[in-house]
Amino acid sequence: MDDDKILALLVNEPSWEDVILKIVVDEGMDPWDIDICRLADRFLEFIKKAEEFDLRLPARFVLVAAILLRMKSDAIAEKEERILIPESPENPEESELLRELASIPPVSPPVKRIPVRTISLDELVLALKKAFEVKERRERRRVRRIRVEEVVGEEEDITRRINDLTERIKKVLEELESERVGFSRLVSEWRREEIVSTFLPLLHLSQEGKVSLEQEELFEEIFVILREKI
């Protein structure tokens, strides 16, 4: 029913944040009521009819749809958030204790003031320098991109990248003595290129069922859990 409105927002709003904001706050739509499948079909029709093809638009659609889906699943998860401790016949005392512990509610934190750091003039100066640096980098990248497009033709060896990443996950997990590791720890340098080239093989691993990925909060850390000995 509101598909047209959402499509219009997708095309016209300056950023995807605004799209979501308008959908949920201004239009007051409940994410539950949005049929993402139907919306995707409508979007495809729209794209086919469009005279100009703006590559950013489908990207934004995918992102917005993913966020809506996430909102829906969060709503479900909230309802089902109850910890179930299975009965263990061999050790009834232990399960009794665990059940008792599981019934403890989270502590409520005291009202705490959150002081914020005001910005100093020196920080403003740094920001100015950074702004110019970023601009220059962006310009250089534009030149580089043309070169990259030529190179990408020789298909990069994704298998090798997947294997490398697997090794890296195992190593980090051992170091951490943990069962899961944050995605950010797997990326050697927090740059866009580096992030993408780590994320792609990770998606392959997830698709093959070798790792599972968890993200508690949208845009926060993604946790990688090894599912089988590889």
Binding site: P115, S120, L121, V125, A127, L128, A131, F132, K135
Partner: protein, 167 residues
């Protein structure tokens, strides 16, 4: 209970600027609020005090006096402004009258959001110029950084930044 103490407690507790409506909700009506804030501001002027009352378009807030900010800012984990916001603010201060479209070229597409937020905070104002808009830093900006006037920002930034004119 003292209304002045309540106003101070509220300002101390909040990390965002408080508006007259906020104080009304606390039970301090506007006519008395003004006098209280004036008194508070006077108290804080003393050289023995390390904080000051800042008044911006978005309301009132207590902040560390600019001359003490550098010494103590490492104690607070959260920064008042994100990187993007700060970059746009720096550009507006360094180049008064810079156009919105130039800011977008330098900072990228999110610049629009940043500009909107800076306007809401009262640190930047925009003026129409042909099909685009020009950015200027405001009086409140000067107060925030302990400068005498918004114009002083450009000089301070160029002295400190030692940039070749790159815009």
């Amino acid at each position: 209970m003292s209304e002045k103490a309540l106003v101070e407690a509220a300002l101390f507790m909040s990390s965002r600027p408080l508006t007259p409506e906020d104080f009304e909700k606390l039970g301090v009506p506007r006519d008395r609020l003004e006098r209280i804030l004036e008194e508070l501001s006077l108290d804080l002027e003393s050289g023995e005090r390390g904080i000051t009352l800042w008044k911006g378009r978005s309301g009132y807030r207590l902040m560390v006096k600019p001359e003490y900010a550098a010494a103590v800012s490492h104690l607070a984990p959260h920064q008042d402004m994100g990187k993007g916001l700060l970059r746009v603010l720096a550009l507006a201060a360094y180049r008064p009258g810079i156009t919105q479209s130039d800011v977008v070229k330098i900072v990228g597409n999110r610049a629009y959001e940043y500009i909107r937020e800076l306007e809401a905070r009262g640190l930047v104002k925009t003026e129409k110029k042909g099909r685009t808009r020009q950015l200027f830093v405001t009086r409140e900006f000067a107060d925030y950084f302990g400068l005498k006037s918004p114009d002083e920002a450009k000089k301070v930034l160029s002295d400190k930044a030692d940039l070749k004119e790159r815009v």
